[in-house]
């Protein structure tokens, strides 16, 4: 029986169908769109200042190179195998991401962007026996139109869709939990693969003989409620096919931090959008400092209400690489506003805006320019003081004015590909 803490939720088996669409080796796939001869060859993308590998294809993984590896440690492997390495070209990735998300809107009225390369689509309006075919079509259409290979996981809750996505690759790109109960598969999935179950709780579950996802779905509610936080109990319900997490409540991806909010009323003017984005950027900065992370890139989006067909529709999104990984709020705000300059269009009624911090790395490996060091340390102390005050007196008590911080010395990007889709001088040549 559902206990009181869950009782507020409508606990009926979900009647919805969700797809999680996830781009395969997204940054590398973006580079391959414009260099098709790299299909099937090992490709890697480097962080800012070309410090470490932040994206790689299975072909590169097979050579023993892993995520986060500094390329100089693998120099001979990389050279011997003629591995194509690129500096991160966030303008290109952001543009292709927007195209993938735009293409998804042909399939569903509800597309929820979860990260630069992942989105949930509501597929409830398709007949149950067709959803796998729809999944395959999504895959084919995105590959044909944008050139990016994707995997699609399908389930009656977002947690199940996310789990199904893990098995998409080995099932030809689409995997669905719909219409079949699959204890065998669930028994073979270790609990560590589930979203949002921390190491500490995994241990506790295992000590009680709960090893697989199947075991977890069979666990006793009262026992779960007594020894685990409500978020875990909700995840268990999601795995059982009861929808109880909204997008905002989903476990945070470790790779990015998203802050967004719908406006109370439609907003058209740039100034108000700018202050909303500044707010989201500074919340994101705060969250990174709490988790001791730094972002390599920042992406913003502004969107109109798609359900208001009578109003002109616009979805603007862009991504900008930061010259060095940072958690420093003034820098984040400055870049967010620069991004707004690029995508803002007058004459639309905007309903929602958000800031996504991407390619997070532990702040210990922050790479700094020498002459920036002192500045940054000072910045860190200011940020610490700000977070403390905001923690005591409430969020947003201390805020930054959004004026001038210029840091426009060039970063090291020796292997940068052309900005094929965002710069006239950089077009693909045929």
């Amino acid at each position: 029986m559902p206990s009181s803490e869950l009782a507020g939720l409508e606990l009926r088996p979900s009647s919805r169908v969700y797809g999680l669409v996830d781009c395969n080796s997204f940054y590398c796939s973006c580079e391959r769109v414009f260099q098709p001869k790299l299909n099937g060859k090992p490709v890697g993308v480097l962080s800012n200042n070309d410090g470490c590998i932040i994206a790689l294809t299975p072909e590169l993984k097979a050579l023993g190179v892993s995520m986060g590896a500094p390329p100089h440690l693998h120099r001979s492997v990389l050279e011997d195998n003629k591995v194509a390495l690129f500096s991160s070209n966030y303008e290109l990735y952001g543009d292709l991401s927007a195209r993938v998300m735009g293409t998804l809107q042909h399939f569903s009225p509800m597309v929820e962007v979860y990260s630069i390369d992942e989105a949930f689509v509501d597929l409830s309006h398709y007949a149950a026996d067709l959803v796998s075919a729809v999944g395959r079509q999504i895959r084919n259409v995105i590959y044909k139109r944008v050139g990016i290979p994707v995997g699609v996981g399908i389930g009656s809750t977002k947690t199940l869709a996310k789990l199904a996505n893990r098995y998409a690759k080995e099932h030809g790109g689409v995997y669905s939990f719909m219409g079949v109960s699959q204890p065998e598969l669930l028994k073979s999935i270790p609990i560590k693969t589930i979203w949002g179950v921390s190491h500490q709780y995994q241990q506790r579950l295992q000590n009680h003989g709960i090893k697989s996802v199947w075991d977890l779905t069979q666990a006793d509610d009262t026992w779960l409620m007594k020894f685990f936080p409500v978020t875990l109990v909700r995840t268990v319900y999601e795995l059982r096919g009861y929808e109880c997490l909204s997008l905002a409540e989903l476990p945070k991806s470790k790779r990015h931090i998203l802050n967004s909010r719908s406006f109370g009323q439609y907003i058209s003017d740039k100034k108000t959008l700018a202050s909303a984005l500044s707010y989201h950027a500074s919340r994101g900065g705060e969250e990174m400092r709490k988790q001791k992370l730094c972002a390599n890139a920042l992406s913003i989006f502004i969107k109109t209400n798609r359900n208001r067909e009578d109003l002109p529709q616009y979805y603007g999104s862009t991504t900008i690489g930061l010259e060095s990984p940072t958690d420093y709020t003034p820098d984040l705000i400055q870049v967010a506003l620069q991004a707004l300059d690029r995508v803002y269009r007058p004459g639309y009624k905007f309903q929602k805006a958000g800031v996504i911090l991407l390619d997070l790395v532990p702040d210990g490996i922050r790479q700094q320019s020498l002459w920036m060091a002192e500045d940054t340390l000072k910045g860190q102390r200011v940020m610490q003081a700000m977070d403390t005050v905001n923690g005591l007196m409430g969020k947003g008590t201390l805020r930054l004015g959004t004026e001038g911080f210029q840091r426009d010395w060039a970063m090291r990007q020796e292997k940068l590909s052309p900005r094929y889709t965002t710069c006239w001088d950089d077009l693909l040549r045929v």
Binding site: P36, K37, V100, R145, L427, R429
Partner: protein, 134 residues
């Protein structure tokens, strides 16, 4: 000659406030129309359309330095010009259908080539843009 008002997307289009101090609308109010946009004319599938610059062309009507509006949403279309990937390299070819087979042609040489699975049709050319300045 008909005078047309192009729309410059990036430029700040001043929004006119048609309400005068008397509270009456301007008599021009009813005649407001959306200005023309080249994007609207040339781009059929925004998410699938890419601009490409010509380096080398063996196709009539397409010259070096032209900008092509390439649409990836199309299936193969008989007679249209495609951006093909042949041996991993980009090339412009005219598509020709003979029964079940598709052939690739150029307009300068009579040689034809069958499409095989090693080739990719990257996109179909929807429009050619040529500026008169250089």
């Amino acid at each position: 000659m008909e005078l047309m008002q192009p729309q410059f997307k990036r430029a700040q289009t001043p929004t006119l406030d048609f309400t005068t101090e008397t509270g009456f609308q301007s008599p021009a109010h009813d005649y407001r129309v959306k200005s023309l946009s080249l994007d609207e004319l040339l781009i059929r599938s925004p998410a699938a359309t890419f601009f490409v610059r010509v380096d080398h062309s063996d196709i009539d009507g397409i010259e070096r330095e032209d900008i092509l509006v390439v649409n990836r949403a199309h299936a193969l279309v008989d007679g249209r010009v495609a951006v093909m990937v042949i041996d991993g390299e980009f090339a412009l070819r005219r598509l020709r259908r003979y029964g079940q087979t598709w052939l690739l042609q150029t307009d300068t040489i009579t040689q034809q080539q069958k499409i095989d699975e090693t080739m990719i049709c990257w996109g179909i050319v929807d429009a050619v843009i040529r500026t008169c300045w250089s």
